[in-house]
Amino acid sequence: MLFNSLEFLLFFPAVCLCYFIIPHRVRYLFLLACSYFFYMCWNPEYALLMLTSTAITYASGLLISSAEKIEDEKRRIRRKKLYVALSFTSNLLILFFFKYYGFASLTATRVLGKLGINVSIPAFDVILPVGISFYTFQALSYTMDVYRKEIYAEKNFFKYALFVSFFPQLVAGPIERSKNLLIQINEKHKFEFDRVRSGLIQMLYGYFQKVVLSEYLGMVVDSVYNTYAERTGFQLIIATVCFALQIYCDFGSYSNIAIGAARVMGFRLMENFNTPYFATSVADFWRRWHISLSTWFRDYLYIPLGGNRKGKVRKWFNLMVVFGVSGLWHGASWHFVAWGVMNGAYQVIGEWLRPIREKVMTVFHVDKTAFSHRFGQILVTFGLVNLSWIFFRAESFRQGLDILKIMLGRGRNYWFTWGNNLDAMGLTMATRNLLLVSLLILFVVDLCKYNGINLIEWLTKQGVWFRWLVYYVAIFGILVFGVYGPGYDASAFIYFQF
């Protein structure tokens, strides 16, 4: 059940209505049933996998909690670590089997083949369970949080199961933390008009990002990337920039709909995107992009690896590991790893070159607070991030390299050719104009957010005629200009495959 499907548009209001009507003490059971129903609309069997992860991490929480009673410190820590290890190993094994087995066996076969060893590794044709990377990470964060005593071990299995399966953020995040979401399950949520309205506005903006922006940007990206070999460098650059915006709108839309939907019911989910393309460095970009995943890696991988506490070289190594793993998390393929490694390398190189940059700035008397300087940083960061998106969007590492070569004008003498017409970019005059207006809206909204203006709050303070005008324009703009309906195979959100 996709957020942009008719089913969800019927499911969500029905769930909300019942949620506020039924007694508080059974609401979590109701939401749990709804969440499993939501998940089982994709593949009923795979709900068992989620249940397994839930059971393992639930048990790990209780066991870690019981281990706290052991008086001998060494034994206590050893026992706790054992439970954490068991929880992580079993969950990651499930994730590995369903997501990485094919990739790992193929890579092993190739490597061994090059060494002259021919082996036949059995293949399993399994469909990737929707959202497995998301709920596995969410569940693992609970094990770790209980271990670190940042949260109590939940005794009620059903409440814990709801934390893992909460439908708004189940399949594509934000990857919540137990210390934020689990405790909210016990809260008594009333129907508060203002909160419900702001949740709905956020959902509306998410739908705009998905069915208008992401879809039309996707038309440009698909038309160019699907025929990249015949394209000019300039066309590929335009398409890559469009992809950067597409993936932001696509993933940002899912987060906005998820956060908005949860807010309607009274839940506060963490922010997942904070104007990422206004970042002034790659590190800054990662503090603004997919925040729930970045902080997950920070808290549960980077810091345990030693973070920046063990010297510069170790820090750089840790960064590369984290971003390599992050790439792999996004997909079982080398081009995702390349994307992750590039993002890690940007930061390592950036830090390595920092003294030189500082020197240059001192010599040239660069005012770091000037708009021009920050704008330059934003442009450079955007350029670097785009460069890495090439490998993310490409279907293989080699394809990414080929695209990069064309972009750099290798073997071409018509680098700057735009193309014959808009058709070549998958657009018409009307859709191009629509896209430009939509991008302007996206830019204004992000600019306001960047400057600390809460547009939803601002809007709700305006006169009724203005508010309603905005609501109607937004609703009907999405309904008319959106890409959906029969004949349109509701494209899954890009992040579903991760």
Binding site: L6, T428, L479, G485, A490
Partner: protein, 348 residues
């Protein structure tokens, strides 16, 4: 409490205005069932004054190509409407009849018989949509869609909903809208079309070949007859003349064969049948009265309508409304029709 009441009231008003805007936008975006200069076909039914028509025509494109309601009005004072659509199968005609009867009480239903040969409930999805999309939400639409499509074919929720809310299907027309979408002006044609192209075709002659009428067509023809009887309506079936399409004699023989069988079938049931290929006095000329191999042009439609009007007047004592001030708009519509027809005739 007062605040809560204001909020609920606000939401209700917001929804009501929203539904109104939605209806307006849907009207603009819906696929118009004909091109710019033509009528708006089935959608125009709702623009007619209730209980204002004497004759309801059902059937395929041969129906709206062969009957000219403005001529029936001008020559006989008969008010008529062509509730026809391309490749309209008989089961579809049945449901359109039920829908029309919610608003009109015609004295005669005229069924154009070309699509009798279709052995299915609708020819293809686009044709079903042309006929049904415009039908208002209600029991008839629900039953029609269930019977014609949903019970026979696996149709997803999204596709099903797109029949009930055609906006889901047609919202993407936003970048192809023309002035006509905002101002559909074809209602004056009462479901017929203007067509002054002349494509001379060979008179295919009368064939005695007979083909079986598909069961589904017979079943729904009987349902149409039963509905007409229950409502005190006279059913008349007619076969507009047609030629051989793209030299496909086999196809022509199938059509004419079914029509021949239908003639006998209807005679046995005492249903009047006007087989225009056998009525030379209608004066239809294959050399001048067709716009293509199977469809008559307006010259032919005027001739056929004159004959049909005379027949209906003689047989069923049709009332002449021409002097009735309540029907003044029909005179204006005729003038409008004539002004465009005259221009086309001059330039021809």
């Amino acid at each position: 409490m007062k605040k809560r009441f204001c909020q609920i009231f606000g939401v209700v008003v917001f929804l009501v205005i929203g539904i109104f805007i939605f209806a307006c936008i849907s009207e603009v975006l819906r696929a118009k069932t004909a091109s710019n200069q033509d009528t708006d076909m089935i959608h125009s039914l709702y623009k007619l004054e209730e209980d204002s028509i004497d004759v309801l025509v059902l059937g395929s494109s041969l129906g709206y190509s062969s009957i000219q309601p403005n001529t029936l009005w001008h020559d006989y004072g008969i008010t008529s409407f062509c509730m026809c659509s391309p490749s309209q199968a008989v089961p579809t005609s049945y449901y359109l009849l039920l829908e029309a009867l919610k608003y009109q009480k015609p004295k005669v239903v005229v069924l154009e018989s070309f699509c009798m040969y279709l052995g299915k409930k609708y020819s293809k999805e686009a044709r079903l949509r042309q006929a049904i999309d415009g039908v208002r939400l209600g029991k008839v639409k629900y039953e029609a869609l269930n019977d014609l499509k949903f019970t026979n074919e696996k149709t997803g929720l999204k596709d099903q909903m797109s029949y009930y809310i055609p906006f889901l299907m047609y919202h993407s027309r936003w970048n192809e809208l023309t002035n006509y979408d905002f101002h559909p002006t074809g209602q004056y044609l009462k479901g017929s079309i203007h067509s002054y192209d002349v494509a001379p075709i060979e008179d295919p002659g009368l064939s005695k070949i007979r083909k079986k009428i598909p069961k589904v067509s017979r079943r729904y023809l009987n349902k149409i007859k039963q509905t007409c009887d229950e409502n005190g309506i006279q059913l008349v079936v007619y076969a507009a003349p047609f030629g051989v399409l793209e030299g496909n004699v086999e196809m022509y023989e199938r059509w004419i064969g079914v029509t021949n069988t239908l003639e006998t079938y209807l005679a046995k049931r005492d249903i009047p049948f006007l087989y225009y290929q056998k009525i030379p006095e209608a004066g239809i000329d294959f050399a001048t009265d067709f716009r293509n191999a199977t469809h008559m042009n307006t010259y032919g439609a005027v001739k056929l309508s004159r004959h049909l009007g005379a027949y209906l007047t003689q047989q069923f004592d049709m009332e002449d409304h021409r002097e009735d001030p309540a029907y003044e708009s029909w005179n204006k519509d005729y003038e409008k029709y004539r002004s465009i027809a005259g221009e086309n005739e001059k330039s021809a």
